[in-house]
Structures are given as C-alpha cells and as structure tokens.
Assembly symmetry: D2
Homo-oligomer: 451 residues x 4
C-alpha cells in the first residue's frame, strides 16, 4: 500500500530520491497525536454532513484510536519510517486504511492536506505554547524562590554594568531582576496560546472550501477553537501562530542565555560567586582538574542558533506568493524544530539552575571593589545642594586620587549603607526588594492558573 | 560646551574617532521629541521630590519646550550633528544647559542615561506601534474595499497553489484572503502598544534606584504608563517592547512582500492580470519599452533585509550579561532602524497598491486553464457515493487524457458553476465571500478605535 | 563501560537529561570515518614518540580498522546510540577500548578532545568540499549541455528583468548565464578544499601542546596536510574551514534557488515554457489535476533556511571568548547540518533538472511580447547619429502609441534579427554564445581535475 | 533637469514618495569615485567604437574629471541630495550633462544602468578588499608586536577553556593565537581582491550585450580587469564579489569580537588583567567612578549586527529569478553597508587595542589558580608508564582532595615549569612561541606586499 495520496494523472513513477528529499516525516512526527485529534473531528464533520454513514464513522474512529495507541506506545514511528511516507499525515492515513478496510478510503473526503496540516499545526502550537508557558513560569518561580532565600540571608554584592562594578545591591534584588524576563516570556506564550485557539481551518479544503456540506462550526468546537476560520484561502497558508510560537521560544531562550552567560562568568575562580554542582558540570578528557559549566554554555549557543533558525523560517516566506507553496513545508519544519529545541534548552536551563549555589562570602568580599559607593557620595552632595554635574565631577576626581593611592573612597560608608540609602520604588533597598518578590509571587500564582 | 555627560575621573582625552564610532546620534534622532517628553516628567518628579525648586523647574520646562520647538522646526538636527554628541539624549541635555544657565545642571539629577533611554524608547515604541497599527489597518481596509468592488463585478479567476492552477475562485475571495494577514498584523501592533504602556522605568537610576526621593508614580502617570516598573535593574536593560515592535514590523513587511510578489508576477504579460499605473512604475535607462513594478520588488527585498536585521538585533543579546552593556545601544539602534524602514516600506506598499488595476478579462479568460474544475468533478463523484480515493484516481486519469488530446475536462461546467458549488463557510461561494467582507469591515472598524 | 572520558574529580553523578541535552552524537555521526582516520595517525605519532610500543600500536590499529568496518557496515550507529555517548569521538573511543583491552586505555594519550575534534572536522571538510565541488561542476555541466542543445535548435525567447520582457535572447544564452554561478560555486569549494589541507591541529592537546614528544609533522603528513598548525591555542578553537565550507554551501544553494524560482514560474501555464517530468512532479491529495514543481520549491525554501542556519552558526561565535568554549559544539553541529542539507538540496536540484523539458514553441511565441525590440530600434537611431537620450525618448513614445493601438512596434524586425544585431563579446549573438559555451566546457574540464 | 534616466513611454508622473523610497543614493554615495572611473573607461570604449567623436570624448572626460574633483572636495554629495536622484549613477549622469552640453547626452550610449552598476561595484569591492586586507594585516601585526614584547617579559598566565583555568601558558602564546584569525582574514580579503579583478561587466548592456561595437577588452584593461566577463546576462546580475567581500568583512569582525569579549572580561576588577587607557574608556552619566570598555563592547555588538545584515543580504537573493530584479538594489546597499560598518568597526578595534595595557603581575598571580598544572602531573604519570585513563583518574581524585583541603596540588611544580615541559611544535614552550612569532612576522611581511 503506497503512502502517496495522489497520482491518478501521472504516468511515470516519482523519483524516490526526490520523494526522500521532500519528506518532512522526521520533523513532523511530533504532530502525530494532533493529526489523530484533527482526523477524529473530521470524521464527525463528515458524519454530520451525511457524507459517511455511522458505520463508516465508527470504523474510522476505531482505527484512529488504534493509531493513537500505537503513537503513544512507540510502534507508530518505526511503521511510518518503514513506509517512506511524505509526512506524518500520509503515514496516519495509510495506517488508517490498513486498519479499516474500505471505510479508510473515506477519511480524506472533503479534506485537503492543506487544511489538515494547518489544523494539526494549530493544535500542536496550542499544546506547546501551554507547556512553554508553564516552563517559563517555573523558571521564574525557581529564581524568585532563590531571591527570597537570599533576601533572608541579606547577601550583598556589586552589580555591574559593562562588566565594571557599578553599585552595591542585594543579590536578592539581582535575582528578582533575572526572573522578570521569564515572567514576560510566560505572557508571550499565553498570548500565542489564546491566538492559536481562535480560528479552526478544518473544512477549508485545498483553498476554496469544499463542495461537501461539512459542518465547520461543529468541527471547530470539537477541537476547542472559538470559531471556524473566516477565509479558506488565507486559512490554509496561514503559519502565523506557529511563527508566533517559534518567536516566543527564541526570545525565551535568548533571555535564558543572558542569565547563563552570567553564571558562566561567575563560575570562574576570578569571581568565584557560583559553584555548579557535579550533576551539571563537565570534565575534560585531558585536564583532570576541569569542572566546566557546559549546560549554560550550551544554552547560550542554542540561543544564537535559534535566532538564526527563526530568521531562516521567516526568510522562507519573504516574497513567497500567498496561498500554498511547498516552501511552507520548510517553514513548518523550521518552526517545529525551533519549538522542540527551545523546549529542550529551557528544560536543561531549569535543571542546571537547580545545581547552582552562590558563594555569599565571595560576593560580599567584592561588593566595594571598584568604588561602587561613588554614586552614593555624589547623591549626598546633591541632596546637600551641590549640582549633579558638579557632584559627579568632584567624586570622579576623588576616585582618581583613591585609585592612584590604592585607598578606599570613604571607609565609613559600606555596601549595606549604600543599599539602605535608596529611596525610590523598585530599588535595591531591602523593603523594596521584599515588595518586588511578593509582587512576583502573586503574579506567578495568577499566570499559573490562566490560559 | 562638551556634550559628554561624564569625565571627572579621567586624565587623558577620549579618542575622537572612538567617540564617533560609539555615537548613535544618527540612529536615535527620531527619539528627540520623546526624550523631551520624558525629561519634562523628570522635572516634575524632581520638583515634587523637593530636589529642585519651582524656579529651576520652570526654567527647565521652558528650555525643554524651546528644544521641542527646535526639533519640530528642524533646527535641532544640525545643532546635534555639529555638537558631535554621543547620542540624542546628550545633545538635548547640552542644549538645555545652554538655554537654562545653572538650572540646566540639575536636569540629570537622580537620573541615569540608563533609565532615561529605557523610558524614551518606550514612548517611541508606543507611538510607532500606534501608527503602525493604523497603517496595517488602512492597508487591510484598502484591500477589502477592492474585494467589495470585485465582488460586485463578479470577477472569477484560477487560484493557484505551487503556481499551478488549483480551483476557480472569485477575485474578491482572493483579495479578502490577502487582507487577513494585515488584520493580524494590526492586532500584533495593538498588543505591543498595550504592553509598552504598562511599566515606566523612569526613576530606576543606573540600575539600583536612586537615593533621591523621586515620585515614580507621578512620573509614570504623567507619561501615560499604568505604573512604575517593578525592578530597577530589570527596567534599565529591558528592550523587550522595542524588540516586540521590531518583530511585529518585520512580520508585517513579510506579509506585504507576499502580496507584492504576486503583483509582480501578475504584472508580467504572461499573466497580464495587473497593470501598475505610471505613478508606481519605473522605466529603464536603456530599454525604452520597460514598465517595471519596482516598488513591489523593493517591498519584497526589504522584507528579506528586515528579517536579517531582526536576527542581528536579537543576536546582540545572545549571551549578553543581564544589566546594561554598551551592546544594548546597537540593539536599540537596530530596533529603531527596523521600525523606521518598515514604516517606509509599508507606506510605499500602500501607495503602490493604489496604482494597481486588475484586468478582469485576462483573469476570466484563464480561469479554467489547467483543468481547475477537476476537484469539483471528483466531489460530484464522492457526493454520488464513489470513495474519495477512487474519485481522485478517475478524474486524474481523465485529466491525463484531456491533456493529451488538448481537450477540456467538461465543457458543461464552468468556473462560476464551480465557485457556486462550494458549501462550506469561508468558501469562495459568493454568499460566503459577502459574509467575509462584511466581517472584515466590522473588525476593521473596531480595530480603528481601540488601542 | 561508560562513554564519558572524564570524571576523576567528581563526586556526584552527572544529570542524564543534561548529558542528553549536551550530546552532539546525532549531528556528528557523519564524522565517524574521519575520526578513525585521525586516530590512526595519532597511534602512529604515539608509537613514533615511544609513548606506546609496537604491540599496543598494532592492537589499536586493529581495533580502529574493526570500528571502521562497523561504521561502513552500519553496525556502529546503533552501538553509539545505545551507549548514550556525548559525541561520536567518545563512542569510538569506547568501542576501541572494548575491542583492544588494556591497549585501548592508551589511545587518548597526549590527545585532547579539542585537537581530535578540530582535526577530524578538517578531514570531513576536505572530503565534503571535494564532493561539493564535483556537484557544482556537474550541475554547471548539465546546464551547459542543455545550452549546447538549445544553441543547435536556435531557440529564441524574451529575456526579462523585473519579470517584464526586456530583450530577445537565445535560450542557450540564458542557460549559459545560469551555469556561471555554479562555476563560481565550484571555485569557492576548491578554495575551501585547499585551505582545509594546510594545517593539521593534531598534537595541540587541550590548548597548550603536549608534554609528550609527539611527532606532529608525521601525523600531519599521514593525514594529507601540508604542515602542523602553528599555534596550539588557535588550532583547537579554529572553526574557519568548517564555516568557509558552510558558507560556500549556502551560496551554492542560493544560486540554485534562483534557477529553481525561474523553473517554478515557467512551469505555470501562463508561461508554459517548462514541463517537469512525472519523476519530479507532485500531485495533490484533493485536486486530481495537479502537477506541482515541488522539488524546485523546496530548493528555494532550503536556501532561505540555510541562510538562517549560517547566521545562527556565526552568531554562536559573536563575542565568544577565544579558545575552546562548549558553544563551539553547536557551531560545529550547525556547520555539519548546513553541509549535509546543502548536499541533499543540490543533489535534488540536479535530479529535478534532469526532468525539465523546455517548450521551444511557447518561448518563441512570446519572444516579441512586451515590445522587446525597442532597444534595438533605439540603438539603430543612435548608430544613425541620434543622441541616446533622444532615441530613448522617441522609441518610448512609439511604444506608448503601439500599446494603445494594440499594434506591433516594427513588423519587419523580429527576435532573431534583434539577437543577431548584437556586436559585443559576451552577447546573445549566436557566435558569441557558441564561444561562451566552448569556454565553459573548457573551464569545467579543468575544474574537474584539480583540487 | 531631471535625474531620471527614463520616461519616454510614461504619461503620468512618478509618485515622488515612491521615488524616495526607491532611492539608494545615501547608501551608494561611496560609489561615486568608482562610477567616474567606470564612466571614463566607457567614454574610451565609445570613442574607440566610433560611436562618439574625439571632441565629444574630450568634453565628457573633462566633465567627468570635474565631477571627480567635486566628489573629492565634498561638493558633490549636497548636489546629489538636492537633485533627488535615484542613485549615485543618475546623479553623476545628471551632473555630467549639466557640465558638458549636448555631449552629455552621449555618455550613456550603449550602456545600461545594469552593466554600469555591476562594474562600479566591482571597482569599489576591489579597493575596499585591499584596504580591509591591510587593516586585518595591521591588526595582526599589532597583536604580534605585543606578543614579542610579552615573550621578552616572560609573562605567564592561566589559559582557560569554558572560562575555567586550563593550563599555564605564556601571554605571548595567547597573543600569537589571537593574531592568527586576522592572518586568515587577510587571506580571505586577498582572495576577494583577486576574484574582483577577473571579469569586467562593462559592455554587457541591460542583459543581452549591445548593438554598438564597443571594445570590451579595452575597457576591461583600462579598469584593471583581466578580461571582459563571459556572459552578459550573468554579468549584470552577478553580485558575488560584493557578497564575498561582505562575508569576509563579517567574519573579520566576528574574529575581532572574540578578542574584544576577552578584553572586556579581563578589564573587570575580578580579573584585573587589562587596563584600558582613558582614550578608549567611557564614563557614566550617573556613576562617577566608572571606566567602561565601550569600544570593545561595541565591536562585539557590531559583529552580531553584521551577521544579521549578511543574512538579510543573502535572503534578498533566495528564490530571486536570475537576471536583474530591483531587489538587487537592496542586496547592493546591504553589502555596502556591511563593508562600511566593518571598516569602521575594525578601525575602532585597532585604535582601542592601542589603549590596552596588560597587568603582568595580576596574570602571574592567578596562573596556578584552578589547579592548572594537573595535566602536567598526569602527563608525568603517563610518561612513567601509567595509562592515560588511570593517570587522569588519579590526578582528578588528587584535585578533589586538594580542593577540599584548600591546598595546592604540587608546590614544587610552578607555571613556568609547566610551560617549559611542553614538547610539541606549536606549543606554549618559550622556544616554540619564539618560532611562531617569527613565522607570523614573516607571513605578515609577505601578505603586505601581494594582492
């Protein structure tokens, strides 16, 4: 039984090397369960339209449930590979026909691969957006939990800009800052999730709709969409939700890569702020002493890779005529590859994060390096009436002298005093940081429950 | 008067070639009016905190309004260029000091370039997201208006996939499909607009907050934000809104590039579906007969360029330590460059669209080329009880015969009959298309009014 | 037996999910035979340095040859997967140890994964650059062969710019033009091939060289390199050859995508210039009449994908500290993925090209559409003393009139006359085209034989 | 006088906003002197072909020399901007016509914008490839000079991989490693330079050659090309040399970004290895003590930006039909923008490099941190007969104990001993490093003199 779903007008055989080249099976095996769901809804639409009778419908449902079990059990993947199917949809179609005799011939009635792929992809996007939202949320939560611990411990450190010491802050304040991008990432995923549940393409046919009286409202409802899509031609070529999800994924991994970079830097003995547990460290095949923070380096590199992959996915669409072109298969494969890679990367980040421990002592020891209290001294002058420019210049000169003499700026003023002196909402002052953490905890609790 | 806002601790002079290299002035001149707005809110915060008295505040306000007028009048740009400022913020600061004597020294009290840039950028993003939303909306509207015209005219054509004739459709149906991505683009811009109005970074200082008791709530409110940002360190390095806008812009231009590609194709005599008016056509310096659809080719190329530029902007962030690094200046410049380029590109697309006219006659003449009614014949067999696979194979063989004989498939069945035979919501059947157009018109009317 | 090549200082076990995340096994299985070659040279270097005796050396050689046979026979891949190795190098090391008892412990003496990976990768690059050069060459050859055929047939057509008819040309001239980028692509591959044979990294250790007296000259020679690399630290982190190859691959696929686009366009009935044979065409699951040029659409999309992938590979290096960082594993994987994808894409392009046939009649019929002889008429005026600007304007006006009247420009002047009137070397005049084809044939014959 | 070089067949006026959108003037002003050179060669070709007489030729030469002087003197840019020209070529054409009366009408005889742009661009590429080669060479030279200094000083340090201490090395060895990528970059530029001097497109017309008997050999020779290009259609759309140069530029900046990253890291007090002089440091508008390594951060960010820009340039070509499409204007603009940005970035890198000073004392103090001699201890065991795996495991365990006890690994063995113990060519041993530096100096001297 061939897996090809077309061919009546062709005399010669297709070139098998070209079929292989055109196959997206490997990339879209993850779509298998969603295709089954989509096909079950189509069976209902066919039955409701009177295109197939209840007997055929029952047979098809039985076959689809059997395929679903094969997918879950792991038997389907080797089947599909052995078949040499063009894609996962063709492989499921072939398997259904094997399992259901003549009824199987009716599964594809009034359906094109175009509306089938578009619908299946949306179901996948919805599910992956939901799990990605949970992942972003749990990363934010893990960082905030650490912020709370460090707030209790009162750990102080020098925050940097340009890798140069800037001002003393609480480590809790820094950790709270690190959690924020993941909160925004979770919101981005939630937005994709909502958008992907709006319009159901099923019943759009190849591009013009169908001559069979399919009940699109019913199919949309069965699949959890708010409504059928408005225009068949737009619906079958629309990859916006998949791209939106891919984009949100890339952004979240970029966010993770920034924290990863800091943890790699802080793991160096020069800083010594971080020790990465054995579970997440890697050795060297030659140098016996090595303890390398590989997972965080890989997170960093995956961010760069995914940025390129997303550009590649978008580039397939530049100047591509509207409606379906085969290029969209590559767009789809790229989007899926990005989503799955990001899923693995964020998962690895989360696991490696759990192996991080902070050296409070090393941080505190370095908190005043680099004259980090200079801004406080300038602020004090300003509060006493000196103009900011004048204050900046005077303290700047004082730093130059202190540096030349190897002296401290003002021995009476320490990191904790600097931190406590902050007076604006959102600052590193302990009370403000406590408020931030509480607010984050509240927001994360809300995000948890809603779509 | 130097434009540099720092320097007290430095002995040697900065290398002017390096200062030039580091200047972002050209890229961020578009931020000038937004910096003034931001600075006015900071003056209010300083006054309210008692850092400056009402006299200084009034002087600063006067100077800022004067700068605003210079910006609007065109005098500011040459001033800033002549000054050799590092960026537009430094140039405005310098000009305010020129205009306000000693008071000018106080404008930067309790403020860092970091929170100033972050705030100004958000104000810019909000405004550009709003105008981009309007632009996407008006493009969608212009296409839908044309769809309505063609619906009345009843123009039929062959819709293609893979550039091969697929099925007969109404031109109105195709145009309605073309408008949909712009409706989604407008929603994407609306989303950015809302997000960019949430949190105000002003008062975050360099990264830790300020020792001066600035009223951040008041500043946030004055600038139209819902609230001050939660964490100073996150706020000063957060470029998410600018990236979200850049991304939405790239996507909208990619959408436009797809329609542009079709219009370029259809302008070729081989199709002859489109004639582009003189206003939007270009000739050749050598070939006197040429009439080239350059604006649409450029739209297509700008899409590709912007995809790369967005990848470049994201790549600056991969593995960049959290908090402020100078790299963020390039991120910002890239985001602005993308937004401004997309603005020009979508504007050009809209103008060139107005010069498009369709040749109904050429379209209709080709509507049955390529056996576009084959699906209808197969659907008829299915409706009469033949299985879809069998029907597909039989009509496929019939096509092969007809092609070999140079004959038509079924002379009694024409494009209009095919179109009328569609029975699913969202199809190309005239009644469905009428519904789609009405729905689009309603949705566009709503988008128009809301943020 | 564990596949990890390190661990002495570690107390806790590595997290297996993180090991999975960090594994590059799937991506670098293609390196397996090259690693064996590299390891054989290392055995010789160890023996020559007296680090191992001839018995151990013989045992190791035997084991490596056995592994080589397993790789060729297909048994090695499932072995490596079952092992859960970090990469292919670890898997081969583990298998050698299984096969060679105590001697196996010595294979890695004086070698780090760093110099091993760098060397293996260069061997891979050399081989793939060579086969890619042959591929580019054979594509150019296939196009030139078709050019010669069409030259004999004298096929004429309208060449376009901006998809608008420009001037009549010989199809042979156009095909000759299409072959040129592949000639340049072959040169680019030849350049990579030469560069990748220059310097051998083996013996560089982790980064500082080795304390064992390894004979690097001998190893370099055994592996076909001109010399050992100059600086160990540079050598172990140098991915330039792999990136150069990836880049040459991307460019070649972009070149192919441009021809592919034209073939897709010309396959549309509107042009009808090209018919794609059944072997390379694809049908539709819904529309029985479809004959889609999918392979060429996929080539087009792979170009876009690869452009993004290359950007991703380069982005992993931006701001990456010199020397080895784990990020380089992702750089390597990306480079390999690009090379293998391009290999498949160019192979598919070549196969699909063989299924292309041209409709001379359709081309000739359209050769004068769009007033393509206007330039000739203008040239004639110029030759007779009219200034080019004046001539351009006059013929332009004549075109406008002819278009309005639906008339031809000059019935006495046809496409062949236009073509024959060209008088510059490199033109579309038949004699010039004959020269071009001869020159291409000569150049391709030379490229064939040299590295 | 209009700057448009076409228009005879057009009735309506072009939309000025669309002309603005389509103008590439700003991007291609750098091409101005090269266009003049190209035009002078075209005048010679016209004269030699008898299309124009010696009087017209002399007038045109005079006008072109006058324009050249205006370009050099700065007067041309404001002229071109005021004119609102489509591109620099149109602006020069317009100016020549102003300066030369009727003769000016003849400059464009037998020439299309297509061959003119292709030729001008190659001349630009050649010049920029040459200066980029010199720049890469001088950067390599500056680093090697510093390596020689540090070799004399005998500075030792801990080389890292994964930012973890790996092995002691000479700073001179590390600097020699840093210079190598710039040597390769110079070779890449040399290759572009050679390729760009091969084939001259002038005389290719719009795509088919010219009906005027232009002497292409003479023009090629006059412009320093080896020969006229082979095929007119290929020649006018060929942007390979510009892309090759853009690519070589991107790669060189990526190389620079890696050294820049290290210098940023080493400027942090945690390392203290580098002090950046005042000339290249930047302060903060708020924090008076700051001394930020901005130029190196910007180099890093420009690398990321350029990677994206190159992807964008290539993406404009994906699926673009062969021959000239207007999209190529954006390809060209992007290539130029990349080249000019890279030029500025490498220039800034070179200047900032001169402001770098190394703290030998801080480096030496940290050379043994992280048990960097562990590999030497393991090597010693191997040399004494212990298998490498066993040796690795034993020293690994010893490291774990030493770390727990806060003890050194082997007090009798220091960094210098470790360095001296290396026995492979290319290692960090002082004699090897001396050889490397000598070899680099020789190679750089050669690169200096050849194309």
């Amino acid at each position: 039984m061939t897996a090809l779903q077309w061919g009546g007008r062709f005399g010669g055989a297709a070139d098998s090397a070209l079929l292989d080249f055109g196959s997206s099976l490997e990339e879209d095996l993850v779509l298998a369960p969603f295709d089954v769901t989509c096909s079950l809804a189509h069976v209902a639409a066919l039955e409701s339209a009177g295109v197939i009778g209840s007997e055929h419908a029952a047979t098809l449902r039985g076959a689809l449930h059997a395929v679903d079990a094969e997918i879950a059990g792991g038997a389907f993947t080797p089947y599909a590979r052995a078949l040499g199917a063009e894609d996962v949809h063709g492989a499921i179609d072939a398997r259904v026909r094997e399992l259901s005799g003549g009824a199987g011939e009716w599964l594809h009635a009034g359906r094109s691969r175009n509306d089938q792929v578009a619908t299946t992809l949306l179901l996948y996007v919805r599910e992956r957006a939901r799990t990605a939202r949970h992942r972003a949320h749990s990363i934010a939560g893990a960082i905030v939990a650490r912020a709370r611990e460090e707030l209790e411990a009162g750990t102080v450190m020098a925050a940097c800009t340009h890798r140069q010491p800037a001002q003393p802050v609480l480590l809790a304040f820094m950790l709270a800052a690190w959690s924020e991008p993941f909160v925004r990432a979770a919101q981005r995923f939630a937005c994709v999730e909502r958008d992907a549940a709006k319009y159901c393409p099923l019943g759009s046919g190849a591009l013009a709709g169908s001559g069979l009286p399919l009940d699109r409202e019913r199919a949309a409802q069965a699949l959890g969409f708010a409504a059928p899509s408005r225009n068949a031609l737009d619906a079958i070529g629309n990859r916006d939700a998949a791209l939106d999800l891919a984009h949100a994924c890339v952004r979240a991994v970029v966010d993770a890569s920034r924290v990863a970079e800091e943890l790699v830097a802080w793991s160096a003995p020069a800083y010594g702020y971080v020790r990465l547990g054995d579970a997440a460290s890697t050795g060297s095949s030659l140098m016996p002493q090595k303890r390398n923070p590989d997972p965080f380096e890989l997170v960093r590199a995956h961010a760069a890779k995914l940025v390129g992959a997303y550009a590649g996915a978008l580039a397939t669409l530049c100047g591509l005529a509207p409606s379906y072109q085969r290029d969209l298969q590559v767009t789809k494969s790229q989007a899926i590859a990005i989503v799955e890679d990001a899923r693995a990367t964020l998962g690895a980040f989360a696991r490696a994060w759990d192996a991080v421990s902070f050296s409070r002592e090393r941080m505190e020891r370095a908190a005043l390096d680099g004259f980090t209290i200079a801004t406080d001294l300038a602020d004090a002058l300003v509060a006493a009436g000196t103009s900011p420019r004048e204050a900046h210049a005077r303290i700047g000169a004082q730093v130059a002298r202190a540096e030349a003499e190897g002296a401290a700026l003002d021995p009476s003023f320490d990191a904790r005093a600097s931190i406590a002196a902050k007076r604006t909402r959102g600052s590193t002052a302990p009370g403000d940081v406590r408020d931030q953490i509480r607010s984050l905890e509240r927001e994360l609790a809300v995000v948890e429950t809603r779509p």
